[in-house]
């Protein structure tokens, strides 16, 4: 299975390379200028962070539609913090925004885990609630670049060894979460919960705690994305991040995370985010009209789901065929003796017509 998944991520990476290659062939400036290179890496950074968080939630067979609103609220919060206390260290502001995001995620997670209402409905509700909070708070005000310290705004454009800082941040987030999912007990339990929630409960897994954790992580990363948004664009209005939730879910699905949970990786989701945004930038360069750009994204999402379906069908067919070829009862037992080895040969139950005492 692992090799199939690997192939899946390799496939997205390949698609990404093809898009970059073709576009660069048409317009060398797409890659081979300082700006081109920077945009390629910088544009997807925010979406990658969101997609990593969303992937964790989707793996548990849930979804968080409120991330766009969380991003908007925390981006605005970041600006207001700087306005209120311009000397506050950037790290402190970031931590406050991340904590706020985690709290908003925790609210989602609590309702899902305790009230047992589908996440789709809950987070659709909180999408509007959180946006409403931002609207009420901000009114028609807007945070401008002048409201935030230059050292903070520089983060949005600065590079380290030719790589934008925000991209480095996104890569660190990706690596940390991928490491957690792959190597920790909690990470494997998230997959188990998404694979079969009932069995997870029967196994005594801490389902609620894990769900709370997944939503809190998703919210915290949306909070981080809010800070990145503020640094990157310098202006935050009450509508920041509107509609981003759909982009994120699209990226996760394109990245090969099963929408019904249980399988997929955050690396895939991150690649999906990069692919979506790179295509968005590439299409106008190649000369495809605006109208078609959205359609291409749609086709990509549907294609990804269709591919998932085909792969899953092929796999279950193969497993079924394997079972036919080698029924369990026909497989000869290994040479190893059973523990204790106390079974007298021929004393199996089926050798006895009727037990007498």
């Amino acid at each position: 299975m692992r090799s199939v998944l690997r192939r899946r991520e390799a496939g997205i990476a390949l698609a990404l390379l093809v898009v970059i290659g073709v576009t660069t062939a048409v317009q060398p400036g797409f890659l081979f200028t300082a700006n081109g290179w920077r945009d390629l890496l910088l544009t997807p950074a925010i979406l990658v962070v969101l997609a990593v968080g969303q992937a964790v939630v989707v793996i548990t067979r849930n979804v968080d539609l409120s991330v766009g609103s969380v991003l908007g609220l925390t981006a605005y919060l970041t600006g207001r913090l700087f306005m209120a206390a311009p000397d506050l260290p950037i790290v402190v502001v970031t931590l406050v925004a991340v904590a706020a995001g985690a709290l908003l995620g925790l609210i989602n997670g609590s309702i899902v885990a305790f009230a047992r209402v589908p996440a789709l409905v809950i987070t659709l509700g909180t999408l509007y609630v959180y946006r409403g909070v931002t609207l009420t708070w901000a009114g028609s005000d807007r945070i401008d670049a002048g409201d935030m310290p230059n050292s903070f705004l520089d983060l949005g454009t600065q590079q380290v060894l030719g790589v934008p800082v925000l991209t480095v941040l996104a890569a660190i987030v990706l690596a940390a979460v991928a490491y957690y999912l792959h190597t920790s007990r909690g990470g494997r339990q998230l997959y188990a919960i998404g694979s079969d929630p009932d069995a997870a409960a029967l196994q005594g897994l801490p389902v609620r705690r894990r769900l709370l954790g997944a939503f809190a992580l998703g919210g915290a990363l949306a909070g981080l994305a809010g800070v990145m948004f503020a640094a990157r664009y310098g202006t935050v209005s009450s509508g920041a991040g509107t509609g981003m939730e759909l982009q994120v879910v699209g990226a996760v699905v394109v990245g090969g995370v099963a929408i019904f949970g249980g399988s997929g990786t955050v690396a895939g989701a991150a690649l999906g985010a990069m692919l979506l945004l790179t295509i968005n930038r590439a299409l106008p360069v190649v000369g495809i009209p605006d109208f078609w750009q959205r359609a291409v994204v749609g086709v990509l999402i549907i294609g990804a789901i269709a591919l998932d379906r085909v792969l899953a069908n092929r796999r279950s067919r193969r497993l079924a065929a394997a079972r036919d070829a080698d029924p369990p009862s026909a497989s000869p037992p290994d040479s190893g003796a059973p523990p204790g080895g106390t079974a007298p040969p021929g004393a199996g139950p089926n050798d006895r017509e009727e037990a007498t005492t």
Partner: protein
């Protein structure tokens, strides 16, 4: 037996689900270093008792003690931590995870920085499988494992827990003779190591073979506990049933008519193979076999819910389009599914809505003529339920009233929600729904699972009467007495194939079990249908 406190002691444990008392007074004392059998009919409360012990359900009343200490598990995790391993009847595995990950889930061996030591984990799984003597790839996904292999994974999991009490809820139901022997060896090794084992089985020969002590349960309560050596199987059966068998299975004699349902060479990769049989008007054909043998899948394929790869289904001489349940219903087929809550009912709808749900789809047309059950054609189902696409509520209510009356559905009112009714009455509503379509062939999948004895007898009487009126009935049941008591012929399914066909006279419990169990004497002699 040691005089120390028993490993497990339950006394007067009760558990109800809504109005249904699944367990009234569960009492069980298991000594360390022993294998204790728990027997009883389906619905006797064994599985509920096991779930209380395993922390899945919280008891309403009674005492549970482990090694003399009272315990009250808030969840399966607590039970596990206390050294209780339970293998449930339906193995709960995670299809997306590998076999190894399934075994060690939540208890993965950790290396440095608390990261999972995958190599140690894989080695652990290999060792477990080697000790169990099975050949399973630890890296394959759990998806697509046979029930037997899933059971092996569960057993490996339980052994790796190093539990002091191992509870196995019908572990052998889907195992071959070789696998059963292997399992028994494991159980004996655990016993010799001083662990306590609780073994639930319907097969008394296994109980006599493996266990030291046997406890009988009936209707949610403790009946008796004896040393296995002191009690005969016949005596156990008498205690388990505790009532006159004939009364529970009223069989009305009927003469089979022409063939109504004919299935030829039905094939579905990985599920069932070369399935051929026929059902005549007026007879009840039982489809027996172990859980997971493929009986429900066959019925679903015949009905067109599931696809099949090869073969034909004909109803009343007309070929049925595969994968088209609407066509099957129009042709006079009805399927009462296994799980009434999930598949049989719209639980949040009224009795009326439920009963009329399928009949609504029927239109009067050329297909309706020439049904086998001529008199039913003029029955309530044939009245129009809608005019110009608009429902006629009176007609709908009349339909529901007619069938609910005939089936003696006990509902406060016909607009009561199905979810508020008892299991037995829900099952009657599902039956009413399908009978309202005026079928020629009625397929019922586990028609009396989880309903009380009184209603069970009513359902049996109904099926019998319908058959006598000329309905062809295909009955899937895991309850052997039900199959033997009701069916005119028994088809035994083993690993997706029809292993044998037995007439009513030939169908003894031994004959059916022998044919149903993989690895038992392989008699593939198929006698064609009795005329």
């Amino acid at each position: 037996m040691p005089n120390a406190a028993p490993t497990l002691r339950l006394e007067g444990v009760a558990k109800s689900f809504g109005p249904v008392a699944a367990l009234r007074s569960g009492t069980l004392v298991v000594q360390p270093g022993s294998i204790h059998a728990l027997v009883g009919e389906n619905g006797a409360g064994k599985s509920t008792l096991v779930k209380v012990v395993g922390g899945v359900h919280r008891r309403d009343a009674g005492v549970v003690e482990l090694d003399g200490d009272p315990v009250d598990f808030a969840g399966p995790a607590e039970a596990k931590a206390a050294g209780v391993a339970v293998i449930h009847q339906e193995p709960a595995s995670f299809p997306d995870l590998t076999v190894t990950e399934n075994i060690f889930l939540g208890r993965e061996p950790l290396g440095r920085f608390r990261r999972i030591d995958r190599r140690a984990m894989r080695e652990g799984a290999r060792d477990l499988f080697r000790n169990l003597g099975v050949d399973l790839d630890p890296d394959r996904p759990a998806e697509g494992l046979s029930i037997a292999d899933q059971q092996i994974v569960e057993i490996a999991k339980a052994i790796s827990l190093d539990a002091r009490l191992l509870v196995m809820d019908e572990p052998t139901a889907a195992l071959s003779a070789v696998e059963v022997r292997r399992l028994f060896a494991v159980a004996r090794a655990l016993r010799d190591a001083g662990k306590a084992v609780v073994f639930i089985s319907h097969r008394l020969d296994e109980v006599a073979d493996l266990c030291d002590t046997v406890t009988v349960m009936r209707d949610g309560a403790h009946v008796s506990t004896d040393a296995v050596a002191d009690v005969t199987p016949d005596e156990l059966v008498r205690r388990m049933v505790g009532r006159d068998v004939a009364e529970l299975y009223p069989k009305v004699a009927s003469t089979p008519g022409e063939v109504v349902l004919r299935v030829e060479g039905l094939e579905s990769t990985g599920t069932f193979h070369d399935v051929s049989f026929e059902v005549r008007a007026g007879e009840i054909v039982g489809l027996a076999g172990l859980v997971g043998a493929g009986r429900s899948e066959i019925a679903r394929a015949v009905f067109g819910v599931d696809r099949y790869d090869a073969g034909h289904v004909t109803v009343g001489g007309r070929a049925l389009r595969p994968g088209d349940p609407a066509a099957a219903i129009a042709a006079g087929l009805a399927l009462v599914p296994e799980d009434r809550r999930l598949q049989g009912l719209v639980t949040e709808s009224s009795v009326v809505r439920n009963v009329s749900a399928v009949a609504l789809r029927r239109r009067r047309g050329p297909r309706d003529e020439g049904g086998v059950r001529g008199e039913a054609r003029e029955g309530p189902a044939r009245k129009r339920l809608a005019r110009l696409g608009i429902l006629l509520p009176d007609a709908e209510a009349r339909l529901a009233r007619d069938w609910s009356g005939r089936l003696a559905v006990k509902a406060g009112a016909l607009d009561a929600l199905a979810t508020t009714m008892s299991g037995g009455n829900q099952q009657k509503v599902v039956l009413a729904k399908w009978l309202a379509t005026g079928p020629k062939v009625l397929m019922v999948d586990e028609p009396t699972r989880g309903i009380d004895v009184g209603t069970k007898a009513e359902v049996h009487r109904l099926l019998s009467t319908l058959a006598a009126e000329g309905l062809a009935v295909l009955m899937i049941s895991s309850e052997l007495p039900e199959v033997l008591g009701m069916a005119d012929r028994v088809l035994v399914v083993r690993e997706g194939r029809i292993a044998t066909e037995l007439s009513r006279a030939e169908a003894t419990p031994e004959a059916v079990m022998r044919a149903a169990t993989p690895g038992a004497s392989r008699s593939d002699s198929r006698t064609e249908g009795v005329a």
